[in-house]
């Protein structure tokens, strides 16, 4: 379920997908349907999980609520790790997560219910490596990123990178240490970054662990010598996303939707919503309609409004099949 294994399927989707590259704004895959409300959808929904997905879940909830005023949706987002316990305890209907569930989380779920949780991929997020807007750094390779953030350097970079001078910057950057900003360990962004950019290694102790994605960006924005990672949706005018190359000697790719869809930008991921669905039974109409809404044109427009990248019709159809839901 990881990004890389999904990449083949993903590229097929990318071909179908025409991007409005000139505008700077992304458009939703035209093969996604308009959402048409059905009757008889009522009740309460509760979502507990990722704070990366917090705003997006809220936007979806607002849109869903506008179509079904009688549905009340509560949203709580304190980190991806809070989603599996809430799903297992039955306190949440949806568990948004910014990383796939880990093996032991799935095991715990399976022990309780006898089947595995189902996931939908609601949006695509590319993690930006942000620096202050005046920072002249042109490109970073993933092993360099690893050597900046990690003390284990599993990416194979020969030496530790401590100052901006180590990265070849001159002027007043040359001997200034790199100030590291990152997320706290309950966050799925933390886990994902550790797996992909740190090759599973450990963070340095000097990384400032902050409680929200937006806080990381604010930290970097106010620190000329800072660097941090956060979802593309949180980028502001005060920070710059550094182009990233997967390996030494490969070309650098900007953080753009095109590069992300084509799989060239190396740190991109799906954002998941986990659901407790019995494999033999149909989903109740309330949750089913919410999922259909997420995969509709309106739902994916909300993804753009939140700064993330919408999924393609190909992925939507693939996921909906798993839920016995037609995309019409």
């Amino acid at each position: 379920m990881s990004w890389k294994s999904a990449r083949t399927a993903h590229c097929a989707g990318a071909i179908l997908f025409a991007l409005a590259a000139t505008a700077g704004a992304i458009e939703v895959d035209p093969t996604l349907p308009d959402y048409r409300p059905v009757s008889g959808v009522t009740g309460r929904l509760k979502s507990v999980g990722s704070d990366t997905l917090n705003n997006l879940m809220t936007l979806w909830a607002e849109g869903f609520n506008a179509r079904y005023p009688a549905v009340s949706i509560e949203i709580e987002g304190k980190g991806s790790s809070t989603a599996p316990p809430a799903l297992i305890a039955g306190t949440a209907h949806f568990g948004p997560m910014s990383r796939p569930m880990k093996g032991n989380e799935i095991d715990q779920f399976e022990r309780r219910f006898g089947y595995k949780p189902s996931a939908i991929r609601g949006a695509i997020d590319a993690l930006g490596i942000y620096v202050h807007k005046d920072n002249p750094i042109a490109c970073l390779t993933l092993p360099q990123v690893d050597a900046i953030f990690s003390k284990t350097r599993l990416g194979g970079h020969p030496r530790d990178l401590r100052t901006w001078g180590d990265l070849g910057l001159g002027g007043d950057y040359a001997d200034r240490p790199i100030a590291l900003y990152g997320r706290n360990s309950a966050s799925g962004t933390y886990g994902y970054f550790k797996d992909v950019a740190l090759y599973g290694g450990d963070f340095k102790d000097t990384v400032k662990e902050l409680p929200g994605s937006s806080t990381v960006v604010q930290g970097v924005a106010s620190d000329r010598f800072g660097i941090g990672y956060s979802g593309v949706g949180y980028k502001t005018a005060d920070v710059r996303a550094v182009p990233i190359a997967e390996r030494e000697g490969e070309p650098c790719y900007e953080l753009t939707p095109e590069n992300t869809y084509a799989g060239r930008y190396p740190i991109a991921r799906f954002l998941y919503i986990y659901v407790n669905k019995h494999p033999a039974r149909r989903l109740d109409p309330l949750r089913a309609e919410f999922i259909r809404y997420v995969y509709s044109r309106q739902g994916q427009e909300a993804v753009i409004r939140d700064g993330y990248y919408p999924i393609t019709g190909f992925i939507a159809r693939q996921d909906l099949e798993g839920f016995d839901l037609a995309i019409d």
């Binding site: 009522t42 809220t58 936007l59 607002e62 709580e76 924005a221 005018a237 005060d238």
Partner: protein, 540 residues
Amino acid sequence: MSDRRGRSTSLTARGEPFQWLLGGALGLALAMIVGLLMLVLWQGSNAFWPRPLELIELRDGTRLLGIEVRREPMPGGEGMRRLLRVGNFDLYGEDFRWIAEEAIASTRFPADAWMVERMEWGPFIGFLIGLERDGTLAETDGDALAEAHREARRRLREIRRIERSEIGAINHELERLRLALRRSELRHGVDSLAHRAEEARIASESARLEERFAEWLRKAKALRESDSRERVVLADVVGRRISLPLSQVVRFVRPNDLSLAGKLEVYLDRWWEFLSADPREANSEGGVFPAIFGTAVMTILLAVLVAPFGVVTALYLREYARQGRMVSLVRISVNNLAGVPSIVYGVFGLGFFAYLVGGTIDAWFFPERLPSPTFGSGGLLWASLTLALLTVPVVIVATEEALAAVPRSMREGSLACGASKWQTIRNIVLPRAMPGILTGLILAMARGAGEVAPLMLVGVVKLAPELPIDGNFPYLHLDRSFMHLGFHIFDLGFQSRNSEAAKPMVFVTALLLLAFVFAINLVAILVRARMKRRFAGSRF
């Protein structure tokens, strides 16, 4: 003075340096508090003031229209640059742009530039093209637009009313019936006669409701259709057009063309929206009414819960218990409770109240709703109880002090007249101690209203559009999660997509919370002053 004391007096013996030190410390503390208050007040009261729209033409021919947010020196130290809020997120994919001043060819403030606040996508900054009715575009002026806009908003409110109140009530009924069915299934068994009869009754009742439901839905749909036919067409600074339903516009503002009175009107209108409307765009726009309401209801409930506990405990400790080792131990514990970090209370509230007590309540009283929890997850009741625990030391200490301040002669006089101990406490001691007790209680409320950390665990959520009090039985919904001003500030500041755009909202919300706590404290002072006056006249 110091001359007379001579050289032999040491520095410690002289008062002046310490006087200066203490006075200075006080001054510093005051300056910091005042500074913080002024910052919040200034930023908060400024946020809604309409700012001019600047049309900037760059040397390379690029045209930009937006609001200047701030300036700072260029990194090299030469010249300045400006941060411009350009809006139009749907067209540009960004809200803000930095512009170096040396690249600017000309700036002007066009009178016909509009700032259009929308329900979705944030503000649109550009020019008005016209109104589109049933597919035909017609030019329009400010007055006609305002008229049409008022009409469209009225229509939208009517749609909302139908969907929220009428359809909402029917849905509530349907949900009640579904639960009744499930309950009877649990009680009588699926195949029993009693369950069959219940099933038939519920089916007929739901059919009747469904019919009414469909009727309202038709009405709402018709209104929606007529609503979507009236659209407004706008163009950005380079002429790219968008059109959106007129009712999706919250406010049309032409800031460069407004008189002072007009600006004031927009300013007050924005404040009113902030105080009375629901949040939009993942809480970064719109109002905070649910958060104000949630904070108020929780604070009142907190007072109702904490008052009896605190006062009764203090009465026993001060009036009845034999003063000894045991009582001092209890006192020390109470004082220590006041020093426990509030997040610990949150964890306790979640584990004990929500999971243990709430889970048991669910299993006994709401089996038909399982597995969705009713009281088994965070909610209004558990949040208030947790905060009551957190603030009970404040009330106990204040009450004890108030009781101790009642003169011994008054108690003895009452006892000497033949009154029992309880009569003395009720008629002599408690009334005199009342101002102190109330002050303690209100201070506890103020502390509770400003607390956030434990609430995040026991029932405060980012979005809870349903208020904890509404027109559906049982009116006060203690099990519902709710929104809170303090958490709203945290959420806006640390979680919103665009932290730059959310900044003014953070200050406004902080200002509101400060005003709320200030109001509670003010009430405390007034109540105490009133009561003191009342007893001042009736001394022996």
